[in-house]
Symmetry: C2
């Protein structure tokens, strides 16, 4: 794909620009350095325009003035060289492999993978290019997609065109790590529904929810990987489809919704690529636990603390969330999405989802 | 598939047989009961003939003589009824959904999912039928397969024929939960290599190891799910292909190999269906850490204890394992499979695996 070639060209140029900057500093008799936004919770700002979280104006400078700073820049230079080579040779590697490769970099060897992961994130910020473009992939799995969507995937073995209902097994199409190697060809869907658990994903497939309602089902596998969030964002933008998120009814699951909709602190520099602010939360709502008398567990102390933290989190600063979280703290209960099975295996697809989606204006 | 229909028929009959037995006991004025092998470590025996682990002769009896026993049989009766209905209606559910469904069973409601899972295992033993045949699935993911193998999957949306290199994206074919809904059509493979980590799976795909050596790659995703072990067993038997296991070099990973090759205590009643005693361990061997000077971590106290436990585990009672585990305890080191990346991204496929597989007689 031409777009990919151009993006990689740009990526290589921006990597060179980092080295050029150091070269320039040195020729002018300056000490080499880099400046990066401070990556802490205090420097995360909600961007009203795009509805996502981004880094603020605070900056940290790393300079070769100290031995520690010099070693840091040396490590960055090695990584820049490694990524440049990966791009030139069309190779790829996991973040873990890159950490092991640094074994051969002597003084620039990383002490732990946290450090090399973080340096890659720094390079993403400096170059404004995602690590996927540099052919770096995490260990984590991509999620799965089942529904009336046709994709074209550029693989190392050639182009594959796959219809995510007709050409796949019962577990669906497994999303590759670099979603930007995908082309979304066409679709016959009315909306996308992203599901926290594999049990609910399989339930909706078995009950034919995708066919009956024209739903594209995405299995989030818990806290979604970057590739999964990127996929949701691209489907939403390119096919103009509503994105619905269906999770368990507890504070950790609301964070899953928030990371789909608003982005995470860790990847705030990628929020515009990863977050879908228009994504809507369908449930499990605390009011559902009450209204449908769902089997529930008592909130633990950690649950209560997490709910209280959400009450002061600007991502949840709406009447809706204040009311729901308030209700949950009052009831002291949480429920899983599979708890709807207590009313029969069809209840969730015949009763609950149609009712909620109508209420939300999706159906 | 006819085979599947017959198996389900048999499953239904064996469920009835449990109820019939109770009916017979009651009509003869006896107190209803069931007898099951005791499911503890003390009652696990190595079966020399099949090379797998099975339950021994010790039995426990559950009888309605006590209130507790009566409630247990009541729960079993409800589950038998639920599974019979699932088979009749061609429905399926997760183990978690079944636990929630028991909410409606009043006195027979399960206290926790552990209890319902265990009861399903008991039914597997009583009927000698796997839970997959009853359309019960776990939450866990199936693993992935990439290689020159063509499968036919019976899905709810019809039959799908999929070549696991040509018809799939770069992440491969995702194995369904019930591997017995698969038909292994044909292949062009020389052996199967099962890989612990996603990083190594992707590495072998990227390096074209499957094409160069006719290897079918299976991603185990850590401790393999039952479906993954069943897949390896079936490919081994039906295609007569050697099965190779490639994991990290630590005691927990050796257990992954052991569960593929010899079965696990938890599923000892299914060992003959799940275990592949001919499966061979390729590495990471403790001697590889030494010979290839791999980046390594120090063994933790738990690692040392686990290695020592393996020295007394009959599954590891061979000269090979005694020597390797002894060496590892002496060195005090462990290494990950991705540690080979320290010698370059191609080292594992160009040097290490060809050398080891020749040594083992696979190449």
């Amino acid at each position: 794909m031409r777009g990919q070639v151009e993006t990689e060209q740009k990526a290589a140029e921006r990597l060179y620009a980092i080295a050029e900057r150091w070269y320039g500093q040195l020729s002018e008799g300056q000490i080499p350095s880099i400046a990066l936004p401070t990556r802490t919770k205090q420097n995360i700002e909600y961007d009203e325009g795009s509805g996502v979280w981004k880094y603020g104006d605070r900056e940290s400078v790393r300079s070769a003035q100290t031995a520690k700073g010099a070693v840091h820049l040396l490590k960055m230079a090695y990584v820049v060289g490694f990524l440049k080579q990966q791009l030139a040779e069309n190779r790829s590697s996991t973040l873990r492999e890159m950490y092991y490769i640094s074994e051969g970099w002597k003084q620039a060897k990383f002490a732990a993978q946290d450090e090399s992961n973080r340096l890659v994130e720094d390079l993403e910020i400096l170059t404004d290019i995602q690590r996927e473009v540099y052919h770096l992939r995490p260990e984590e799995d991509g999620a799965s997609l089942f529904g009336p969507i046709r994709v074209r995937e550029q693989t190392r073995r050639g182009m594959r065109e796959i219809h995510c209902q007709d050409d796949v097994g019962e577990t669906g199409y497994q999303i590759p790590n670099n979603v930007d190697a995908l082309e979304f060809v066409d679709h016959d869907a009315n909306f996308v529904i992203a599901l926290e658990t594999g049990g609910m994903y399989a339930r909706l497939i078995e009950n034919g929810f995708d066919e009956e309602y024209g739903a594209a089902l995405v299995h989030l596998k818990g806290q979604p990987a970057r590739s999964t969030r990127r996929l949701l964002k691209r489907i939403h933008e390119e096919f103009k489809l509503p994105v619905i998120v269906f999770t368990d009814g507890d504070p950790w699951s609301y964070r899953i919704y928030a990371s789909v909709a608003y982005g995470s602190i860790k990847a705030a520099h990628m929020s515009e690529l990863l977050a879908t602010p228009q994504a809507q939360f369908v449930g499990v709502q605390p009011s559902d636990i009450r209204d449908y008398d769902l089997p529930a567990d008592h909130l633990s102390d950690q649950d209560v603390a997490a709910l209280k933290a959400e009450l002061t989190d600007p991502r949840f600063a709406s009447d809706y969330w204040r009311e729901q979280i308030g209700l949950q703290l009052e009831m002291g209960l949480k429920a899983e999405q599979q708890a709807f099975a207590s009313q029969g295996l069809d209840f969730v697809t015949r009763e609950y989802l149609p009712a909620r989606l109508s209420e939300m204006g999706v159906l």
